[in-house]
């Protein structure tokens, strides 16, 4: 992350929503113990879910939730970039396109016709894209949803003008540190932990299930090796492999290309 120039005395925060479930911005309101303190440190100038009063920009920090999937959203994100000194995308929709990016592999007109009797009333872009596909982003916070402790870390770092301390290594490291028995070894459960970025607290293994990739690809993941192991040792079919990679972060590389390769039988 670029460390921003000095922020205002009481930095002004804007929270934007694009195509999403609201869950990542909700994480701000889920900071039950810190919310009032946070409101003392930062002026929450624009946050439609929390307040009716929308103070005009410019803002010091913009948090962006959601992916860009309609022409109106494209216009709004360009304005948000102009209005914010620092722009941070939060969550899988904003950093990867989110679950709705599954439609990028499909015919959007067929989708519209399937759901809406009058598809011509519904305006959409051909693909649902991460924010960085449209404007320059200063920092990305992964997760479906983002982890609220990580969100506090990013905001604290911005206020202190330092880099946030956030891991880019795989979930396995976080899981081992927590002393959780490996579900892939002990329970023979397929787990995306080796290729997924840490940050959630290794909750799935803690609950006896395999990681399903909410935090997207870790730094330099060896997807081919995991895929081979899944298929040879854990009875995972090629179509199941495609589905595992194509979920909340499926449109983010290298998950995207790998899933295409498995689909077209290019990956071993």
């Amino acid at each position: 992350m670029n460390i921003p120039g000095p922020l205002s005395q009481k930095p002004r925060l804007a929270v934007y929503k694009f195509s999403s479930c609201d869950g990542c911005q909700l994480q701000i309101l889920e900071l039950e113990d810190e919310l009032l303190e946070l409101a003392g440190e930062i002026e929450i100038a624009y946050f439609l879910e929390a307040r009716r009063q929308a103070l005009p920009g410019p803002y010091d920090i913009g948090l962006v939730e959601g992916s860009i999937s309609t022409p109106a959203e494209e216009r709004l994100i360009r304005q948000a970039r102009k209005d914010c000194k620092v722009l941070v995308s939060i969550g899988a929709c904003a950093t990867a396109g989110g679950i709705q990016a599954l439609r990028n592999w499909a015919d959007i007109d067929e989708y519209k016709k399937r759901i809406y009797p009058r598809p011509e009333w519904v305006a959409t872009l051909d693909v649902a894209s991460p924010i960085a596909g449209y404007v320059y982003i200063d920092f990305e916070l992964r997760g479906c949803p983002v982890n609220k402790r990580q969100l506090v870390e990013v905001l604290s770092a911005l206020l202190a003008q330092r880099r946030p301390h956030l891991p880019t290594y795989s979930l396995c490291i976080e899981c081992k540190r927590a002393g959780i028995p490996c579900v892939m070894v002990a329970r023979k459960t397929p787990c995306l932990g080796p290729i997924t970025q840490a940050g959630c607290g290794a909750i799935c293994p803690k609950f006896n299930r395999g990681c399903y990739g909410c935090f997207g690809p870790a730094e330099t993941p060896n997807i081919a090796a995991l895929g081979r192991f899944f298929q040879e040792e854990r009875n995972v079919s090629r179509p199941a492999m495609v589905r595992m990679l194509r979920s909340f972060n499926g449109y983010l590389e290298p998950f995207k290309t790998s899933s295409d390769d498995y689909e077209q039988c290019i990956q071993p």
């Binding site: 439609l48 439609r103 759901i115």
Partner: protein, 435 residues
């Protein structure tokens, strides 16, 4: 702008409705004292869940549908699971079913408290947000935060995290808690109970606009308990049908100003789902302590004033808290975390009580366990036409008010419904047009 000098036409317009979940708008046009145009617009971008669920495996569905809504993911998981279990003839009973109810109590508490104190109450007390409200009502906001946190703690403990829990699966859970793991949760919930009761007394002292509407209430009804996960779909006009007959009696239609389909009864009528509808249909099953509190604050059921949905949420929150305590004290860990699953072809319907009202799911599953078709009818989509009908009844009474005040009142009415626009789009943008 001012109505006194020009009574003919007035327009109220809100482009981005605040303190709701998702993106919506309102356009209201009033000529004389007649509302001539209401468009409760939802411009939340469509995300096409029903389309991309096709071809996914049945066991991925609860994780995917959770992402429809960050505020009520448990509801989506529960409706998905119960529908898929119906299709595959899987019975989830005993402690597993009770653990699901406990998880749902957590979501009712966190979602209701968020809406009551952070989204809705500022309208009644004249603040633009709970944060500005906290300057004058600090104890109330701090107490509400603690109660909300306790609800979230249920979801975190049973689900792994508050938003998009990871521990729910078709057939039950991945892991069930040990007996001792719930003790601290029980203590915290008990510690929040006095606040919950005092908060209801405080909410009862507020001034509620008078607006009685003859609602056709629709909710789940279970013969023995306040329905959450199962039962029959009942209406205040006397219809009682199994969940699988939902499509025979209810339909969704598309209107140009909304990316959310509108729900209505097949005979064309609007209907009400959510906390007030639930209380009206299930009040006989409420525990005596809560009925006594209702009597004390002079809340009578049936209630047909949606502004008092604020109180209905209060009662449901208290019920969920007491019920959670009951479930915790009677908890004995089941031997298996989930019922056995045998994949089979079939069609299944599920309907559960999301915080905002009934949430219906239907899946057609192939013999390979892959989804062939999916239908999801969220509560806010069903309430949309009723919101417009309420506005048509309410707006003419507000004509003497200045524009800003009238707009605020209309927004408050919309917030009665705790509309979850992310869910329904399948938003909210309010314009009152009076010329």
């Amino acid at each position: 702008m001012s109505n006194a000098s020009n009574p003919e036409t007035r327009v109220i317009e809100v482009h981005n409705l605040a303190r709701v979940e998702g993106e919506g708008s309102l356009h209201l046009k009033i000529q004389g004292n007649r509302v001539t145009d209401i468009r409760f617009g939802i411009f939340e971008p469509p995300r096409f869940f029903e389309a991309f669920l096709r071809g996914r495996s049945f066991d991925e569905v609860p994780d995917i549908t959770a992402r429809i809504c960050g505020i009520c993911p448990v509801a989506y998981q529960m409706s998905s699971c119960t529908a898929i279990e119906a299709a595959m003839n899987i019975k989830v009973e005993g402690q597993l079913r009770l653990l699901r109810r406990l998880l749902y109590c957590g979501e009712w508490i966190e979602s209701h408290v968020l809406h009551m104190f952070f989204l809705h109450l500022p309208d009644f007390l004249g603040y633009e947000s709970a944060i500005s409200m906290a300057a004058d009502h600090k104890d109330l906001v701090v107490g509400a935060l603690r109660l909300k946190k306790a609800g979230n703690e249920i979801v975190r403990l049973l689900g792994g995290r508050e938003v998009h829990p990871i521990n729910v699966r078709v057939g039950g859970f991945h892991r069930v808690p040990e007996r001792g793991e719930l003790d601290a949760l029980g203590e915290e919930l008990s510690a929040c109970r006095n606040f919950a009761v005092d908060a209801i007394r405080f909410l009862a002292s507020l001034r509620y606009p008078e607006l009685e509407i003859d609602y056709d209430c629709v909710a789940l009804r279970h013969p023995k308990e306040v329905a959450m996960l199962d039962g029959a779909i009942a209406t205040s006009r006397g219809l009682e049908i199994p969940i699988s007959q939902f499509p025979d009696h209810f339909e969704e239609i598309q209107v140009p100003h909304s990316t959310a389909l509108h729900g209505r009864l097949r005979n064309g009528g609007t209907y009400l789902v959510g906390p007030l509808a639930r209380l009206n249909l299930n009040w006989d099953l409420y525990p005596p302590a809560i009925k006594k509190l209702a009597e004390e604050i002079k809340f009578t059921v049936p209630c047909h004033n949606q502004f008092k949905s604020l109180l209905a949420r209060g009662f449901e929150t208290l019920y969920a808290l007491d019920h959670a305590l009951e479930l915790i004290s009677a908890y004995a860990p089941p031997s298996e975390p989930a019922a056995e699953i045998k994949v089979r072809q079939g069609v299944g319907h599920g309907c559960t009580e999301a915080p905002r009202g009934i949430l219906y799911h239907r899946y057609e599953i192939g013999a390979d366990g892959l989804i062939r078709s999916a239908t999801i009818v969220p509560p806010t989509a069903q309430n949309q036409p009723q919101i417009e009908a309420d506005l048509a009844a309410y707006a003419p009474r507000l004509l003497s008010l200045p524009q800003e005040e009238m707009t605020l009142r209309c927004e408050q009415l919309i917030r009665n419904y705790d509309p979850c626009i992310s869910c329904a789009t399948h938003f909210l943008k309010l314009t009152v047009d009076r010329g």
